[in-house]
């Protein structure tokens, strides 16, 4: 109970502080337990494991840096995994941001039927699961797929998509862009956050649409862009479902073998958990580095509204 009396204030106040502290920890305890048990401890354990030759069901022995050295020098699939993953991240993240912002900007005009378009763009992202991944596998099928059929109608011979190393990654990027409806919604909301008054004063000053976009819209979208780009990148580094379901064991695999697939294989197919942990930590460090760089650069291009 809150106590406003002044006498014995010192003792009462520390009792209140203690109570607040106790209740604080009580309420956050689920998270704290989860963090310690499912995040912090596994992280430390995986760091330890990365220096051992452990396998599933076998704690393994300490081998120092051997896993890391093997990865960097003797693992050729590692290089291809990194290459493919980097290609994916560099292609997908910018495309999904551009895509999201452009469509959001188009939708932001007072057009009729806006709600219907929003639904159309958003539904794929809700259904993003195994079912639609396999659906796209079929759409990309070289002989029987919808895509090549439609292309044939205009006289174009479609490539083998997922089965062609040159097109496989592109296909996967397409599939993932298709589920980017939520990005469009986020940017749409970000656009609607921008006060109309800014546009109005710009109009009075005779600014064109392009000038308004460049000087008002885009700068004020940068916080949203920054946040989503960062999360998008971290997610993109872990891309797994589509390669696993669609190109594993096929001719398209070489181009879509991602870092997550490599880690998965070593952990669960070859059973070399120590090695897989080393892979995971290398990825973590890489993500830290990239995040750090983006964070530093953000001061250069992110404009917050209160500046």
């Amino acid at each position: 109970m809150k106590n406003n009396r002044k006498e014995g204030g010192g003792r009462k106040r520390s009792a209140i502080v203690k109570r607040q502290n106790r209740l604080f920890f009580l309420y956050i305890s689920p998270w704290l337990i989860g963090f310690l048990g499912l995040t912090l401890f596994p992280m430390c354990y995986s760091l330890y494991l990365s220096f051992t030759d452990s396998a599933i069901g076998d704690s393994g022995m300490w081998i120092g840096m051997k896993n890391y050295l093997d990865i960097l020098s003797a693992d050729d699939k590692f290089r291809s995994a990194i290459r493919n993953t980097v290609i994916y991240v560099c292609a997908f993240v910018p495309l999904s941001m551009i895509f999201g912002i452009s469509i959001a900007m188009i939708l932001n005009q007072n057009l009729k039927g806006r709600g219907i378009f929003r639904v159309a763009f958003y539904i794929p992202s809700i259904c993003a699961g195994v079912a639609v991944t396999l659906l796209w596998g079929w759409i990309f099928s070289p002989e029987y797929g919808l895509l090549n059929y439609l292309l044939s109608l205009i006289g174009v011979q479609g490539p083998k998509w997922l089965l062609d190393p040159k097109w496989a990654m592109f296909s996967i990027v397409l599939i993932n862009l298709w589920t980017q409806g939520n990005t469009i919604i986020i940017f749409l909301a970000g656009l609607q956050d921008i006060p109309q008054s800014l546009y109005e004063s710009a109009s009075i000053d005779g600014a064109s649409w392009w000038q308004k976009t460049r000087n008002i819209t885009l700068p004020l979208l940068t916080p949203t862009l920054y946040f989503n780009m960062l999360l998008g990148m971290i997610g993109a580094f872990q891309m797994f479902n589509q390669p696993f379901l669609l190109t594993r064991g096929t001719s398209g695999e070489s181009a879509t073998y991602t870092y997550m697939m490599h880690t998965y294989n070593f952990a669960f197919r070859y059973g070399r958990t120590g090695y897989a942990c080393a892979l995971a930590w290398i990825l973590l460090l890489a993500i830290f580095a990239v995040t750090f760089v983006v964070q530093k650069s953000s001061k250069g291009w992110v404009h917050y509204m209160d500046e």
Binding site: N21, F25, A120, G129, I139, Y144, N228
Partner: protein, 283 residues
């Protein structure tokens, strides 16, 4: 003069806008139409050229056959179980933790919350493998515990962050009024704060629901017995090399697994949009 140019530019812009939007919407929805169309086709109709969008005759056979191809009823029940328990856990757990961060003063509050945010940036790989090994040692492999525990132990950093923001927006005077009426901390939580953030709770719940329903990696790694499989795993059985796969069965079953989500969407559109919007911007 300037005015006239602007108006012309505006009309042109609107025309192209509509063009792009209609075109893009068609592209976005086309896969679903194909899925529906194939789901009701008899095997001979599937590979016919030119492509017929409306199957003649249409058959419900695929749904029946597809359902029996593997034990889909069980997979669906399993998925429903995981989804319901997981979603409840997420909503309950994240709101309680958010309450702790939002309303109680402690010198540990700030630093611990920073840690919550930091975990958002963690790739799953780093914790996945050791967690798997830990669960194996504990005997939790091939149970639903690895899939459900994270929901109940915090419910996700994102959701904690989101709900904390919302709780902070509610004036403390309401808490204090309830306290004067004799409410303890839990009472304030249940009677004042939770009802006040219902929209946010709904959004959290919906996002959790979708995540649980579509989850693939979790069931893939942790479930070994066929009787425990979820829809995500079960669908793989239909996945052959694309020449001989039973695409019509796959599509029929896919339709059934996708429809609940779409129906949910139409019922709760507002909360979907709200959930992503707030989470995407407040960052």
């Amino acid at each position: 003069m300037i005015r006239k140019n602007n108006r012309f530019g505006e009309v042109v812009r609107k025309f192209f806008s509509y063009l792009i939007l209609i075109g893009l919407s068609a592209v976005f929805l086309l896969p679903f139409f194909w899925m529906l169309s194939t789901a009701f086709k008899t095997p001979d109709q599937i590979y016919k050229i030119p492509l017929r969008w409306i199957p003649r005759p249409a058959t419900l056979d695929n749904i029946i056959k597809g359902w029996k191809y593997v034990d889909f009823t069980r997979y669906t029940l399993n998925t429903i179980f995981i989804t319901v328990v997981g979603t409840c856990g997420t909503v309950l757990s994240s709101s309680l933790v958010a309450y702790g961060f939002a309303r109680f003063r402690s010198k540990y509050s700030e630093p611990l919350f920073m840690i919550v945010l930091a975990t958002l940036m963690l790739p799953t790989q780093v914790t996945l493998i050791p967690a798997y090994m830990m669960y194996t040692k504990l005997g939790f492999l091939d149970t639903y515990l690895p899939l459900l525990l994270p929901s109940w132990l915090g419910g996700g950093a994102f959701n904690i962050f989101l709900l904390r923001q919302f709780f902070r927006g509610i004036p403390r005077e309401l808490d204090e009024a309830a306290m004067i009426d004799g409410c303890g901390s839990l009472g304030i939580f249940v009677r004042i704060l939770l009802p006040a953030v219902k929209p946010a709770l709904t959004s959290v719940g919906i996002m959790a629901l979708i995540g649980n329903w579509n989850d693939f990696m979790g069931p893939l790694i942790y479930l070994n017995s066929e009787t425990k499989y979820t829809i995500s795993i079960g669908l793989q059985y239909f996945n052959n090399s694309y020449g001989t796969g039973k695409v019509n069965l796959l599509m029929a079953v896919s339709v059934v697994t996708v429809i609940p989500l779409i129906i949910l969407f139409f019922c709760a559109q507002k909360y979907f949009v709200q959930g992503i919007t707030v989470s995407g911007i407040k960052g």
